[in-house]
């Protein structure tokens, strides 16, 4: 299984190089549904992929389904309403929960005299002695898990209201897509709106064969992971908490993909970064900035040198050997980063 995760391609185009590194011949399937109405504006992408692209046009296919399958269209709209309501409640709970974490972190830091969050075991101050930070973070994980469980139920309701397998138009598109994928030597997933991309992937039941090499960046890279986490610390409404949005395709395991990390995360706020790393401590929070190119190991693990957030709030290179850096051997067992104090 060959998978390459790239940084954003807007300012530093590395997709062509990555494709050549795969050494495969034949057409390259592309999924750029995240570009939404610009899905067909593919001149630059075609050039980068050396004219080998076979665009699957999932966004346009989605609208074709909505136009032709009234039952699905109505169910999808109802699902969006319910999902929006769920997200609204999730954000409410999440914000309160995260505020609690930050309050505890501040108290712990103040009482321990440390400059940033410390691992509970390493803390000597009174505030850290009670396991308050870990327990507060566990509360956030509980909210994340609640949301994920509720979302799963919503999907079940959607499937019951409009079974995707019984729709003729969906089946027709799925057939075309499967045939196209079968003929391709590689698959490219671009960036864009990750919500739109995930909806399209789910609607057309995209399953990527293990043997099909994949190159993905930005939203595409997020979609390959097990759990898609949204984040943006510099939005106009101010820093918003990272939120678990949906399940991804699960091809890339043990990873929270963070495209545009330098542009979107307050990486200089060690406390904030530390809380994020601890919240997703069962996975590696991987920074995918401009120029990043990570070819995963055949087992799907991160390679040496991957830049990740440590639970000390600092950025580490995987296997870099620094005191806070997890070893490369821990890449497929992310809890290994617990060594970071």
């Amino acid at each position: 299984m060959r998978t390459i995760l790239l940084g954003p391609q807007r300012f530093m185009t590395t997709a062509g190089t990555a494709l050549r590194s795969l050494g495969v011949d034949g057409p390259v399937a592309t999924i750029n549904a995240g570009w939404e109405e610009r899905e067909d504006v593919v001149d630059e992408l075609d050039t980068v992929l050396e004219g080998r692209a076979n665009h699957l046009r999932l966004y346009h296919r989605t609208f074709d389904v909505l136009a032709k399958d009234d039952v699905f269209a109505a169910a999808a709209l109802a699902f969006r309403d319910r999902h929006d309501a769920l997200l609204s409640l999730y954000r409410l709970r999440l914000n309160h929960s995260m505020e609690g974490v930050y309050d505890v972190v501040r108290r712990t830091r103040d009482s321990s005299g440390e400059g940033r969050v410390r691992g509970e075991g390493a803390g000597s101050g009174e505030g850290s002695a009670f396991g308050a930070v870990d327990d507060a973070v566990e509360g956030v994980r509980h909210v994340d898990a609640w949301y994920a469980a509720q979302l799963k139920s919503l999907y079940a309701e959607l499937d019951a209201a409009a079974p995707l397998d019984s729709s003729g138009v969906i089946a027709w598109h799925r057939g075309e897509i499967s045939a196209a994928l079968a003929d391709c030597a590689a698959l490219v997933l671009t960036g864009g709106h990750v919500g739109t991309l995930l909806r399209a992937l789910r609607l057309f039941a995209i399953r990527i064969p293990d043997e099909l090499p994949v190159i993905a960046w930005s939203a595409g890279a997020m979609a390959l992971t097990e759990r898609v986490v949204l984040f943006h610390d510099f939005g106009p409404e101010g820093a918003a908490e990272a939120e678990v949005y949906d399940r991804g395709l699960g091809r890339v395991r043990g990873v929270v993909a963070l495209p545009h990390a330098r542009r979107r995360l307050r990486l200089d706020d060690r406390d904030r970064c530390a809380v994020m790393a601890r919240r997703f401590t069962d996975q590696h929070c991987v920074l995918l900035d401009d120029g990043t190119a990570l070819e995963l190991t055949p087992e799907g693990g991160l390679p040496r040198g991957a830049r990740i957030l440590g639970i000390d709030g600092a950025i580490h290179e995987l296997g870099g050997g620094s005191p806070g850096a997890p070893s490369a051997s821990s890449a497929s067992t992310p809890t290994g980063q617990g060594a970071t104090a």
Partner: protein, 382 residues
């Protein structure tokens, strides 16, 4: 800025000077002359008195100018903290004749339904780039509509904004804007919406711009107005457009008396709307007695706000409030923040060094709209 180093004081040190020297001074120093946190207002001409008229709380109004000896140049210097933006006019007295007009030496002018004013922008103030037309931004569509209102007993015009690429396959939040025509004309709100939606700062939203007929009567807690908004306008729009069918997707917005109209409508119809966007809302109140100093038009406002403060309710979940620190309403607005919070609402409160005017409200639109209806930035990773 050292007083002696101010441009006008350097000119004073060179007195007497001839008219040509003053010409050169004015050519070199656009009026008002902003130097550090000081602004010098200038006027050239014959008069018995010249004064700067403004409504900045904390500064003397009027602000008398002094003639530089043996010249026809008048000047006054005042403090102007970084980031400030002040609207003003000049007033001259010649004998018994008073005249008020925009600063002839200053081309910067702001417009409002009451006319225009000159603008003095301090260091640090910049017009946000998202208020200007952006050719890259897709244009929303404006639709003229007229509703036959039983509540108001008249035909009520409404201008509707549909975001670019509006489609019935999605649902949209609804924003109802009081003084809607003024927001379009004086706060560039159509352009602002186009730009902020294009930049993903604000979610695509359907907006109803509602102009009043008699705002001083209809806006301060007026039952027919509230009924029109909640029971006629919103249901009509929900029938016509694909709107979010949830209070969270409905927001009332307004400035000054329009803020009171928004709040009082929400109080009369609790649970109908999820949020309010209040800009310099006229939330005048008294703690004892009825001498509020606002004149008879404020009587119903004070009555409403006093009653609300006595028994605060929670008509919405979230309130965005903004107010200029230089306007008289700053104290009432600051005072209402804890009242709303104690009633259980989430409040985002923003202040700016500006006054009670449309460009202040325009400049705060990004803060308010992106908080009420956040755009999909969090979802987009190009």
């Amino acid at each position: 800025m050292n007083e002696r180093r101010l441009a006008v004081n350097r000119l004073r040190e060179r007195l007497p000077v001839d008219g040509a020297a003053i010409d050169r001074f004015l050519a070199r120093h656009p009026s008002p002359v902003v130097e550090g946190e000081r602004a010098t207002f200038l006027f050239r001409g014959d008069a018995d008195e010249v004064r700067v008229r403004h409504r900045v709380v904390g500064l003397a109004d009027p602000l008398p100018m002094k003639r530089l000896p043996d010249t026809d140049l008048w000047a006054v210097t005042t403090t102007l903290p970084s980031g400030s933006r002040v609207e003003y006019q000049l007033e001259t007295r010649r004998g018994e004749h008073y005249e008020t007009f925009n600063d002839p030496l200053n081309p910067k002018v702001a417009h409002s339904p009451m006319g225009s004013s000159s603008v003095c922008a301090a260091t640090g103030y910049e017009v946000p780039d998202w208020v200007h037309h952006d050719p890259e931004a897709r244009q929303g569509e404006m639709v003229e509509d007229v509703l036959r209102s039983k509540a108001l007993r008249r035909e009520q015009p409404v201008r509707l904004y549909l975001p670019a690429r509006y489609t019935a396959a999605q649902r949209y939040p609804l924003l109802v804007v009081h003084d809607g025509t003024d927001y379009l004309d004086y706060a560039a709100m159509k352009t602002v919406l186009d730009n902020l939606i294009h930049r993903l700062d604000v979610a695509p939203v359907v907006v109803a711009f509602v102009p009043p007929r008699d705002r001083l009567k209809e806006y301060p807690n007026h039952a027919p107005h509230a009924r029109f908004i909640a029971r006629e306008l919103v249901p009509r729009l929900a029938e016509r457009f694909s709107l979010v069918d949830d209070p969270q997707g409905r927001c009332l917005m307004g400035s000054s008396f329009g803020g009171i109209a928004s709040l009082s409508t929400a109080v009369r119809y609790p649970g109908e709307f999820g949020s309010l966007l209040l800009q310099s809302a006229s939330m005048v109140f008294t703690d004892i007695g009825s001498d509020h100093g606002g004149g008879p038009y404020f009587d119903p406002v004070v009555k409403f706000v006093n009653r609300y403060r006595a028994r605060p309710s929670r008509p919405v979940d979230r309130i965005f409030m903004s107010c200029g620190t230089y306007e008289p309403l700053i104290t009432p607005n600051r005072s209402m923040v804890p009242v709303f919070r104690q009633a259980g609402m989430t409040v985002r409160y923003v202040e700016a060094r500006d006054g009670h005017n449309w460009e202040d409200w325009r400049d705060r639109l990004r803060d308010g709209l992106s908080w009420i209806f956040p755009g999909p930035q969090k979802f987009v990773y190009e």
